[in-house]
Subunit: 116 residues, 2 copies
């Protein structure tokens, strides 16, 4: 568990700042299993979680979905037999906000069955 899991998402406005390069470098160290991907010019955080079957993958999708609803910040969840790909970014600012790192850390906590 990282310190990020202790934070809560703040409301993200369209004029909120994206994380700076220095902030990104510091924050990504706290979620070392996540990759930064750029799609259509939008920076995103992504991690693939593996499972032994479809049912356990779908159960994880549900747990991450419940977390998303609780925090009011929603990911892309790609559920397949044996895996879930979780992608976080902030639609309003078309990039990464501190919220996304908080949610990535909390997703790891959900995967580890810790209380996020």
């Amino acid at each position: 568990m990282t310190r990020l899991t202790k934070e809560i998402c703040e409301a993200c406005r369209a004029d909120a700042p994206r994380v700076s390069e220095d902030e990104l470098a510091a924050l990504i160290k706290q979620i070392p299993d996540w990759a930064v991907e750029v799609r259509d010019g939008i920076m995103q955080l992504e991690r693939i979680y593996s499972f032994p079957d479809f049912a356990q993958a779908l159960a994880f999708t549900d747990r991450v979905g419940a977390l998303a609803e609780a925090e009011g910040h929603h990911p892309k969840l790609v559920t397949e037999w044996g895996s879930v790909v979780v992608t976080w970014w902030s639609h309003k600012i078309r990039g990464l906000h501190r919220n996304d790192f908080i949610m990535a850390a909390k997703t790891d906590a959900v995967a580890n069955q810790e209380s996020p």
Copy 2:
């Protein structure tokens, strides 16, 4: 509802035949809202379902997941705020089997709240 929803998936072996062009042309007429996509040389059936929020998208993912478990054939489900993209193909034959058209029709039935 189409006749396909009355069928059940048969076990798909690696040497099972893919649907022929003629079969595909006939089957796709029964699921007119689905598109045929080709990714990495693999033909797939895909449809985007829209929802007014994340919770309803996730609830649909769950219902399609339950259908998949019941039939023993599993899709890719991309869940986001406001939409779920459902993709069916048969991994073992790297293409489309009649099963995929059955599951696409049953997914439509789930979306329409009909009993598949």
